[in-house]
Subunit: 366 residues, 2 copies
């Protein structure tokens, strides 16, 4: 079991990572407030996850008064409408500020539950039990909570930290293989943006990571959380450094949008996006071709895509306009996170629309 | 002009109080982020207030790109539905995180604008220009933001601090007299809960306060904000001390609810509630009759009601059940903020339902 302490300006909490933790009530008991028999716990989850782990979670919180709220599964339910139905449920049950909200599920459940926790009676205790690899290494850490709006993802939300995150890699057994592999893209990202040693470790252990060997995936999750929590500790509210966590994401979002949601999983799109960010970094003379190839190789070895094979050169216009919408274009220049060596990225605002177009031509030519 | 510095755990800001401040662009310019010509400012207000001060505010923010959003006036519009229409407007205008939101109005505008500021793109810069006495001495200070739910007031919200509060007592000229006087109830409250000197000052200046003499009302607002910000600095998220700000409010809310909203203004109900809290404090032997009479006298001198004259003894059942819903009743005991001397209140959890009923019998007998 590994403990990662997240130290923020005015709030500290721990992330625990370890096989079997979801069956160990100790950490959960310690995090429930007030520490009284009969304290109220409301678990937000979806049907699939509840079928798998609902009973287990009930026994974890045996001394408490446990309620479940099942939401529908899918990004389209991370909405203000779902938010409102959860709030209605909490009010109907007359829960007061001593309520403990537990997110049991992936990123959709975690982000929504976090936003409810941030705003129900101006804030209640919040615990995360992420059950997808993506949520374990990314969305459950860092305090970004929120919902989507018809016009875009995560436009409504708050920064609100959980009091506890418990990550049990055993639950990944129940995850579809493609979704599991997609989660590894974010793991690679942490190596690329911050930690060359970690990247080398991923390279050496890629076949174990692909097969889901539990000690290796535990290690990968813990080190990912370490990098993310370090970055977040320095810049909780994304005024600077935190932007590096979006490495590969501008391209990834554009590919997701132009392909239509569902074509690529988020992690897959990020993998393709990171490959494009590397390629752009080379094109601008920041990164050497050798390192680029090494990065591409590592993504391939994890079974991750590196090209948007569904898109062709006639999609370039759409990709460009999606990115223009996403970013503030000033004098035809755009802001991108580029990489100069493994473990070192920087935010560059000198990327011209022309370079970007050249990159798309090159990436989509065959 | 008086400056009150609010020092919170991880955020400081200033409240400025002074006649004519709403025509002085200096403070506003300093608070707009980023400090660039063309930065976006969106003013949330209602029709009445915009007619009075819209042009003025436009000239205040002359160097910036100013938008207005008019919401409907009234507590019933402090709702998730209004929240959503403001969010839709901001998204439609494609405002990014550099947006500055300005609340120009009373408590409804301020609370709603604060909640939007807290949650639009996970938080944007927020400025308060309160235009009612109640908002100037109470809701604009302290960072409580939120909306009502059909089941109750302020059930959804966040703690989110403004970067600047500008209070100009001149704007109170446009306030209906009854609303102005009702605001004085909260002013008296600050003396009662925290500051005997201030209470004595209010007593000596009550006729000037009633007539709205500008230097006296400025002083009263500044001292009220000082007390509130001191209490909030010690306990931003209401885990202890901050509860004293609710002195008189449990009774006040019950009276508002049972009378039907609109019968009493909030401040009037608080005045009656404070008189009842004093009476209960006497009944329990905490406060002497002489001090109680002094307090009642001061409320009367400010033209404030001290009895819920619309209610009679057959409303006692309803009042009791409203309070029971509002509070956690444990073994028939309730938690109240009681007063032992002027400037000193405490939270007592030993109030029996029986004492409470006796109090109602006594207050409503004639």
């Amino acid at each position: 079991m590994k403990q990662i302490k997240v130290q923020l300006e005015n709030f500290d909490y721990s992330i625990y990572v370890g096989s079997g933790l979801i069956t160990d009530s100790k950490f959960f008991r310690d995090a429930i407030k007030p520490k009284l028999i009969g304290s109220k716990v409301c678990v937000l989850t979806n049907e699939t996850v509840r079928d798998l782990y609902g009973e287990l979670v009930l026994s974890l919180f045996a001394d408490f008064d446990v309620f479940f709220f099942e939401m529908q599964d899918g990004e389209e339910f991370k909405s203000l409408a779902s938010y409102q139905s959860i709030i209605d449920f909490l009010i109907e049950k007359r829960f007061d500020r001593d309520l403990n909200l537990v997110a049991l599920g992936g990123g959709v459940v975690g982000d929504l539950c976090g936003f409810v926790s941030a705003t129900y009676l101006r804030g209640v205790n919040f615990i995360q039990i992420p059950t997808t690899l993506l949520a374990q290494v990314d969305s459950s850490v860092g305090g970004k909570t929120g919902v989507n709006h018809a016009a875009g993802k995560n436009l409504i939300g708050a920064f609100y930290q959980p009091s506890l995150v418990v990550i049990d890699p055993d639950v990944l057994n129940s995850l579809p293989r493609r979704e599991y592999l997609a989660g590894l893209a974010e793991v690679v990202k942490y190596g690329l943006i911050y930690d060359e040693d970690f990247f080398s470790w991923i390279e050496s252990n890629s076949s174990d990571l692909v097969s889901g060997e539990i000690s290796k995936i535990s290690e990968a999750i813990a080190r990912s959380c370490e990098v993310k929590s370090k970055v977040v500790s320095i810049d909780e509210r994304e005024s600077g450094l935190r932007a590096i966590l979006n490495f590969g994401h501008t391209f990834g979002h554009a590919i997701e949008t132009v392909s239509g949601y569902g074509t690529w999983l988020h992690g897959e799109a990020v993998s393709i996006g990171m490959a494009m960010a590397c390629s752009l970094s080379c094109q601008l003379g920041m990164l050497n071709r050798e390192t680029e190839e090494r990065i591409i190789e590592s993504l391939k070895n994890l079974g991750l895509p590196i090209k948007a094979t569904n898109l062709a050169s006639d999609h370039i216009g759409q990709l460009m306009s999606t990115i223009r919408l996403d970013k503030k274009v000033k004098d035809g220049l755009l802001r991108f996170i580029l990489i100069s060596e493994i473990g070192r990225v920087s935010i560059e605002s000198e990327v011209s629309e022309k370079s970007l177009e050249a990159l798309f031509v090159q990436s989509l030519e065959n």
